[in-house]
Symmetry: C2
Subunit: 403 residues, 2 copies
């Protein structure tokens, strides 16, 4: 019997009515003959509500206790979904991460999955039951409850698909799939039939919030096909596949936008080997994620170094730099919150030339100045002024004929 893993996000199980609808969908698949493993997130805003509770008590909750607290959200939704399925006269059983042996490391609030035993799941599937698993959580070697970080339920689903040799992993969400760009910005944005793991990874890290990046990495590593689709209708969504299986072949698959970054410029840095290494090591060891880095060629013996960080980390990064610039006798620090990143993503650009030029052209036509440029094998990003962000996305989307 084919094993299907289905994951339903928080908006898909936001209230009792939606849970009942999810139950009906699950039952319809069960009746088609699938063996079903269903992963659920916490109901709607439960996780945020629990975080708010903890914040009323302390601004520095121990990470272990945070996991103890937050893991209850998924436990509630998986029990309720099991009830709703049983109500439809289909046998179901719910499990916590610990109960199905989702073993993780001990890094609370962002644990990594080490192993999944899955014995209890297989046993329950053999008994003909629909298995519901609480997403986002696992258990470490001390039997302490751990959580996998934001979006961790995606990871639970993909990891279970791997452990159980599932035929497909469906990610149900509140959007209909992966689009060429944000439909709220470009009204004729198109839903993609398929996208490669690498493209999806770029898009996730560049600001598209359809799926958690780590879960895509795992899916890629183990070649697990993923179907991202809406829980509110029966439409086909977007398949995430390896390159060879991709059905469409466009030069670029999508345009992404990220408005949650800020730029820091360190002026007059002495241009000698090792300085940049020290600078970014200092930042990395403090847990700040640097994205784009630009350093111009030096003509005067000193240079300016610019880099972007998530807005949330700006003050931390600036604080670190204030100490560091004194140490290396560099000049002043300039921060710039008024930036946006527009990116194009596509495996096609590996084999097509002129893609970058076409993107810059689309920006030039709208008289949008490019502040920084950065490229990967399958993406090109431009940092521009925030006010130009949507105009830039629309222009690029049209230029590449994605509508």
């Amino acid at each position: 019997m084919k094993i299907l893993v289905q994951k339903f996000g928080g908006s898909s199980v936001a209230d009792v009515e939606r849970i009942k609808r999810v139950a009906e969908r699950v039952v319809s698949y069960r009746k088609k003959g699938f063996s079903l493993v269903v992963v659920v997130s916490a109901l709607g805003d439960t996780t945020d509500d629990l975080i708010a509770l903890s914040e009323q008590i302390t601004n520095a909750p121990p990470a272990r206790e945070m996991d103890m607290l937050l893991s209850t959200g998924e436990q509630i939704s998986c029990a309720l979904l099991a009830m709703a399925i049983e109500k439809l006269r289909v046998r179901a059983i719910s499990f916590t991460g610990a109960q199905v042996g989702i073993q993780t490391d001990k890094i609370h609030t962002k644990a990594k999955i080490l192993d999944i035993s899955g014995d209890r799941i297989r046993q329950a599937l053999n008994e003909g039951k629909v298995v519901i698993v609480a997403g986002f959580q696992g258990v470490n070697a001390d039997q302490d409850i751990t959580t996998l970080g934001r979006g961790g339920s995606d990871l639970t689903a993909v990891a279970l698909a791997k452990a159980l040799h599932a035929d497909l992993c469906e990610i149900y969400t509140d959007v209909e799939g992966v689009y060429t760009t944000d439909p709220r910005i470009v009204s004729n944005a198109k839903k993609l039939k398929s996208i490669t793991y690498d493209e999806m990874l770029e898009m996730a890290s560049l600001g598209a919030q359809v799926m958690q990046a780590r879960s895509i990495e795992v899916a890629k590593k183990f070649d697990i096909p993923i179907h991202v689709r809406s829980s509110f209708n029966q439409e086909e969504g977007t398949m995430i596949l390896k390159e060879a299986d991709k059905m469409e072949d466009f030069v670029i698959s999508g345009v992404t936008l990220n408005r949650n970054e800020a730029k820091i410029t360190i002026c007059d840095v002495l241009d000698k080997p090792g300085i940049a290494a020290k600078l970014f090591k200092e930042i990395a060891k403090n847990g700040v994620n640097v994205d784009t880095i630009v350093q111009n060629v030096s003509r005067t013996g000193t240079t300016d170094v610019s880099f972007t960080v998530p807005l949330a980390d700006l003050s931390k990064a600036k604080g670190l730099m204030q100490v560091f610039t004194k140490k290396i006798k560099a000049g002043r620090i300039i921060e710039d919150r008024d930036i946006a990143r527009v990116s194009i993503v596509g495996v096609g650009m590996k084999t097509h030339t002129g893609v970058a030029a076409k993107m810059f052209e689309a920006l030039a036509e709208k008289k949008i100045n490019i502040d920084m440029i950065t490229t990967s094998e399958i993406s090109i990003s431009c940092i521009i002024k925030k006010k130009n962000a949507e105009k830039a996305v629309r222009s690029i989307h049209a230029k590449f004929g994605l509508g």
Copy 2:
């Protein structure tokens, strides 16, 4: 180091402010040098809220899933309390029932504790940590989460006190201890300094809702002293002890009132051996708890049998009797919801005569008619009309000089 088990009920941890107050109390005991194991119930109405959620989905939730659902309430409160204690710079760690090895049988929603390993608790206590345990829950041999029934957190506390050889078990609640009667009915009701396990058991089963009856049975069996007290002040409450340790010696300790019963009378039952046995077997096997039974001597070959059941079970019991009376060709069935049970409880009545007479006198003085009478070794109960209930309690309370 002395081990102290403290249990805080739902009203003691109803919101964040109360959790913080509980944390302060716990920390003050930690600083006095106690090793502390703290058992918590779910926050305020959490359990009722979760039940309401499940009722929106199904009127017959699988018991296993119900336990999965309800156990989250205590998990939330124990994580929050651990955070609140850590905030006061005292080390704390929270555990679920499963994590501390509270092994139960497989009867979901009313599981019995079979064994408590307690290894993790001892380890954490040795590390100087305050241990917080989620009340009301355990785990069965399949690693499924079980719950211990209403008031189960009391049982968790007493069972942990036994397993850890604790010196004392404190039950914190929203009343100041055990009273001679309900202070809302008799304004000069007195808080008892001490009461025996047996008296407390009678009082619990007769309607006083200070502590869960099963937990008192366990405390009695293993001779664990219990201190029932208020979480809202520092006053001494009531000690529950074995008879020999009781400090006060009154004939009776208290007057209880229960207005949640109804009476069923089966008319014209053939007066021959075995009929009553069959009748009550029929009721028992359907899970209805019969309390007082009265059957008068027969003069005519048939007799009337009356018994009381909890109001909640009345329609079920009546349905059973409608079938049964046809089978044994008995007469009609009369139901009476207009009853109340007033009882007096006290180990002293074993050695004092005239206690029953004094009680009946107190009722007669107020012209209250007695419908049924039942006695145990340390209690006497009268079934009277509901409207006379409070008057009866006041009269009896005064007659025995309890004020």
